[in-house]
Subunit: 439 residues, 2 copies
Amino acid sequence: MSEGDSEPSVVHPGEAGMRVVVVGAGFGGLKVVRSLARAPVRITVIDRRNHHLFQPLLYQVASAALDPSDIAYPIRTVFRRQDNVERVLMGVVEDVDLEGRAVVLEDGARIPYDRLVVATGATHSYFGNEAAWRPVAPGLKTVEDALEIRRRVLAAFEHAERYPDEQRAWLTFVVIGAGPTGVELAGALVEIAFHALARDFDAIDPRSARVVLLEGGPRVLPAYPEALSANAQRQLEGLGVEVRTGHLAKALDDGGVTLDDDTRIDTHTILWAAGVRASQLGDRLGAPLDAVGRVEVAPDLSVPGHPAVFVIGDLAHIAQDGECVPGVAPAAIQAGKHVAAQIRRDLRGGARVAFRYRDKGSLATIGRARAVADLGRFSFGGFFAWLAWMAIHIVYLIGFRNRLFVVLSWGWSWLTFRRGSRLITGGRRAGWPDRPDES
Amino acid sequence: MSEGDSEPSVVHPGEAGMRVVVVGAGFGGLKVVRSLARAPVRITVIDRRNHHLFQPLLYQVASAALDPSDIAYPIRTVFRRQDNVERVLMGVVEDVDLEGRAVVLEDGARIPYDRLVVATGATHSYFGNEAAWRPVAPGLKTVEDALEIRRRVLAAFEHAERYPDEQRAWLTFVVIGAGPTGVELAGALVEIAFHALARDFDAIDPRSARVVLLEGGPRVLPAYPEALSANAQRQLEGLGVEVRTGHLAKALDDGGVTLDDDTRIDTHTILWAAGVRASQLGDRLGAPLDAVGRVEVAPDLSVPGHPAVFVIGDLAHIAQDGECVPGVAPAAIQAGKHVAAQIRRDLRGGARVAFRYRDKGSLATIGRARAVADLGRFSFGGFFAWLAWMAIHIVYLIGFRNRLFVVLSWGWSWLTFRRGSRLITGGRRAGWPDRPDES
C-alpha cells in the first residue's frame, strides 16, 4: 500500500482519540461502526434517514407482504450502547472538504474528521431519461418508493374493477430489469394477482393479470451462473410471469412501454429495476469515477491520494481480478469490516493492507417456495434454496422485534395466501381521487 | 314513523332484490352490510379508501407504536364471503340524485339505489382557520394524518439533537383539544419522550420535553362524568403532561401557539384534536344540518322527506332526550344495525321504528397502565380501566392477523418501553431536507 503509508499514520487524536465520521448507515456504514466498538475513536454517524433499511426485503413492502417498520430500525437505537459513538445526526452531507478534513451538511455545518467513511450507496438511473421515465416507472430504493409501488399496484386492480372496459391495461404489469429485485418483484406481482386478490373482486378476475419481466440482456439474473438463470426463468414462467429477455425499453409513458422492436405493451403500472447510479457525493471526493458514478478506490478502499477517506458499499468501484466487486450487501459488510481494520492499523501506526472480497454465494427468491442459490460449489433452485434464502434474511435483520414480526408475517401469508399490508395510502394518480382523505 | 310509511314500501326489486348502496365503510357502514347478510338485497359498498380503518387506535400509529396495516383491513376482504355484496368500489361520491335515486361518483358515473346509507363520517375543523392552521397543526383522521404526525414528532427530536440551541421549541409539543384523542396523544407523547427515546440522544435529553394539553372547556374529557375528568387529569399530570384547561388557542403558526390570554408557547409541533366537521356529502341530502354540518335525521335515521336514504355515524345528528347521540364507534354500530333492520322491515312491508342509542359506557386510555372507564353504574380509572380498554379494542379489531400483531406489539412495547415503528418517512418540513430519498 504505497499511497496509504505516509499521511494516515499522522493521527490527530484530539482530546479523546481519532474522530471517525461515517456517512450512510446502510450495511457498510453500520459494519464499520460496529467493528470499531472497542477502538479508541470518537464516531459520528450521519444519515439522511433516521433508520437503517434492510433493502433486500424492500420488495416485500412494495408487494404488501411486510410493513416498513418490519425491515427498518432506528440508527440511534442500533448504537445506543456503543460508547464511542458520540453522535448520530440525521442530515444530508452535501460536500467534503478534503483539505480541511470536514464534511459539510446541507445547512453549511461542518463536521471535522480524522478518518471519513463514505457509504452513501446508490439510487436508480434511467439512462438519461430521468425526467420522463421516473414519474411513470418508480424504482425501489426507499420506504417511500416501496409504498408508492404498493399504492400503484393495488390501485391498478381497483381501477380495473371500476372500469372493466379498460381492464387489459390496468391488469398488465411490466417490470423492467431482471436482476434480483426485478425477479423478486415479478414473482410477487403474480402471487398478489393469482392468490392474495384472486377472490376479492366482482367485475374482474385478478388471475387474468399479465406480468411481463423485461430484460435487455440475454438472460434473467445476469450476474448468476447460466444454469441458475435458466432455472430461475423456468420457475418464473411456471408461476405465470412472461419473461422477455433481449429487449430494451425504448419509450415509457403513462399508457405503456414501447420496446426496441417497436412492440407496444399497454400498461399503467411500470416498475423500474434496471439501472443504478452511485450517490452524487462521489463527485466531491476528487477521485476518478466509473461509468455509473462509483468511486474507483485504492486497494485499501481509500480514495487515491486521500488516505484519510474511505469509500465502501454501492458507491465504491472495487476492482478485483479484472472485475468489479458486485453491489451486494455481503460485499458492503466485508468492506466495512476491512475499513475498520485499516483505521485500527492507522491508530497503532501499522501499514494498510489490501481488501479482498470473498464471494460466499448469492440467493434470489422468486416466490412461494421458489428461489435460486449460487453457493460457489453448489448451485440449486427450488424449495431448499427458498428455505436458505429465508433463513439468511432473518439472521441478517436487525432487532428481535423485526425478526419476530417478519417470521410471523411470512407464516401467516404462507398459510393463508394473503398479504397483510394491502393498504392504498398517499400519493396522487391521474384519474384517481386526488387526496383521498378529505370528505 | 309517519314519514317512513308511504314511499319506502314501494320496493324496486330489479332482477334479484332491492339495491342497497352503502357509502363509507367505517364502523356504521360495515355494520349495515353485515347485518343484511341474509337479506334478499344486492349491496354496493363505496368508499374512497380500499380499507376499513380502526380509528380508535390511530393515535398509536401516530405515536410509532403500531403500523398502519395493524389497524386497517381491506374492505373487499371483509365482504369476500358475503354473497349479496355485489360490488365494492373504491371511489368518491360527489353527489346524490335524490329524485333519480342514484349516487354520482367523481367521474360522473351513476350508481342507482333503492335504499341508500350515507356513512361518510367527519373530518377536522379548524373553526374557520383552515388555510392557516391546517398546515401547522395536523389532525388525526386518516393513515396519512397519523404518519405525518409520527414524522413531525420524531423529526422534532432529530432537530433538537442537531440544533441544541433551539431545543426548547423543538422539544415542546402542544396538543389542542382534550377529548379522548387529545388525551391519548398527549399521554403517548410523554411516553415517547420519557421512555422510548430517553437514552438514544447525545446532545439533548428527551426527558426534558414538555407536553402541553390545551382545552378550551373547563376539564379534560368533557363528555365524561366530572369525577373521571378529574381522575384523568391527575393521571395525565402524574405522567408529566402539562394540562391547561379553560384556554383557547388564538393563533397558530410555524413557531408556536398564542393563547387567548396572549400567553405564547414556542413550539414547532402542534397536534390538532379539537374540532370536527361532518363530511360534505351531508350538503347534498336536502336536509337540515346542525352547526358542525351533521344531518338532522328522522327518528328512524332516514333523511326527513327521503325515507329511502339513511344517514348514520359521525355524519348524523341523532337527537335523543334533548341531546345529540355522541360521535363514537358504538353509536355508529348500533345505528348501522338499526338501519339494516329498517331495510328488512321495508322488504316485508313493515313500518319503521325509531332508533334508540344505548350508552354502554366509554373508555379512554392515557398511557401505560393508565386509563379511565365510564360504564354507567361503574366508573373507575387506572390499571383495570386500562385492561378493559385493551380487551375491548382487541375484540373489535377486524381480522386475526391484526389482533395477533397488535397484541404482540403491545406486549413488546410494554416489556421493552420501546416503540416498533420509529420511522421518519415522507413529507416535507421547513429547514429539513426536502425529500430524503435522493442521494
